[in-house]
């Protein structure tokens, strides 16, 4: 096993996260590599120091919890305020989209020709056609019902 791989596995080795095969290979490497063994020992010492972390006694909470168990679930106001800017932004976007869609709809309604009236765009198009092409174009004109 190479030293680079060995160093990467030290953490998992210490935490008992290596399978038997890998663990044995790593242990064999430690037997032959002084540098990696020193790394392991240094890591062990640091990990052991964490035992000095104090075991703090937890406060008694059950009596206070008993009174709250029947309460209906409410949103914690302390945290819900963070959602307010998102809600405002969503509302603004929604109004903007609704407004622009409404505007487009109203404009489209205004531009529609009256029932039975010739389509001004189509009439303009016909005017621009060279005289020789008119009979061909007229073949593709939609039939109008009387």
């Amino acid at each position: 096993m190479r030293c680079g791989i060995s160093r990467r596995l030290i953490s998992r080795y210490q935490d008992g996260e290596l399978g038997n095969w890998r663990r044995r290979r790593l242990e064999r490497h430690f037997e032959s590599c002084l540098v990696c063994r020193a790394e392991l020992e240094a890591d062990k010492r640091i990990w052991a120091l964490l035992d000095a972390a104090e075991v703090v006694e937890a406060p008694e909470v059950m009596s206070r919890l008993e009174g709250r168990l029947g309460e209906p679930e409410t949103v914690a106001w302390r945290h819900s305020w963070r959602l307010a800017p998102i809600a405002y932004a969503a509302a603004v976007v929604l109004f903007a989209v609704a407004g622009s869609l409404g505007g487009v709809f109203v404009a489209a309604r205004r531009q529609l020709p009256a029932e039975g009236a010739p389509d001004p765009e189509y009439a303009g198009f016909l005017e621009e056609i060279p005289p020789g092409m008119a009979p061909i174009v007229s073949m593709f004109q939609p039939e109008r019902t009387p």
Partner: protein, 166 residues
């Protein structure tokens, strides 16, 4: 809603580990106590949705972790210090030994407090609570490989911080 007798047994078993985990995450005893209560309330209310495929401890620490991260974000936006080393007291017969232990303890707590929240949570869960990498991955919502990475980086930082004591 859960069964109250079972809930009481669960509170007795886990309030210590949960409180210590939360206290190291937020650094302030009053906030830690509030978050401990909130964690346990959520556990009680969500007991019916608990999936037995997950370990109870993973589930509890996941709820606590989410609350701690929310609190850290709120504290950050309120420009408060995210995690201070909690003030710990020792009970030793030998005063010299007690003082030495107190110094080590303070240094360890300060080194833990200096870690980024996810690294600190991973260290706490593997070292103090004995959770496996797979369980920690579930608690933190990351992959097992990511847990390995978090712990490797945390070890490097702790080594730099605590070298003088080792």
């Amino acid at each position: 809603m859960g069964d109250r007798r079972a809930f009481r047994a669960l509170v007795e078993k886990y309030r210590g580990p949960l409180y210590r985990f939360i206290l190291r995450q937020v650094g302030r005893p009053a906030v830690a106590e509030e978050l401990l209560q909130e964690t346990l309330l959520r556990v009680y209310r969500a007991a019916s949705t608990f999936e037995p495929r997950a370990a109870v401890s993973s589930w509890l620490f996941r709820i606590a972790t989410n609350l701690c991260l929310n609190e850290a974000q709120s504290a950050h936006s309120r420009h408060e210090v995210a995690a201070e080393a909690p003030d710990v007291a020792t009970t030793q017969a030998d005063p010299a030994k007690a003082l030495e232990n107190k110094e080590v303890s303070v240094a360890v707590e300060a080194a833990l407090a200096a870690l980024p929240p996810q690294q600190r949570a991973a260290v706490q869960l593997v070292r103090f609570e004995g959770l496996s990498y797979a369980e920690i991955a579930e608690v933190l919502g990351v992959s097992v490989g990511a847990v390995d990475g978090l712990l490797q980086r945390a070890r490097q930082t702790l080594r730099q911080q605590l070298q003088h004591l080792a």
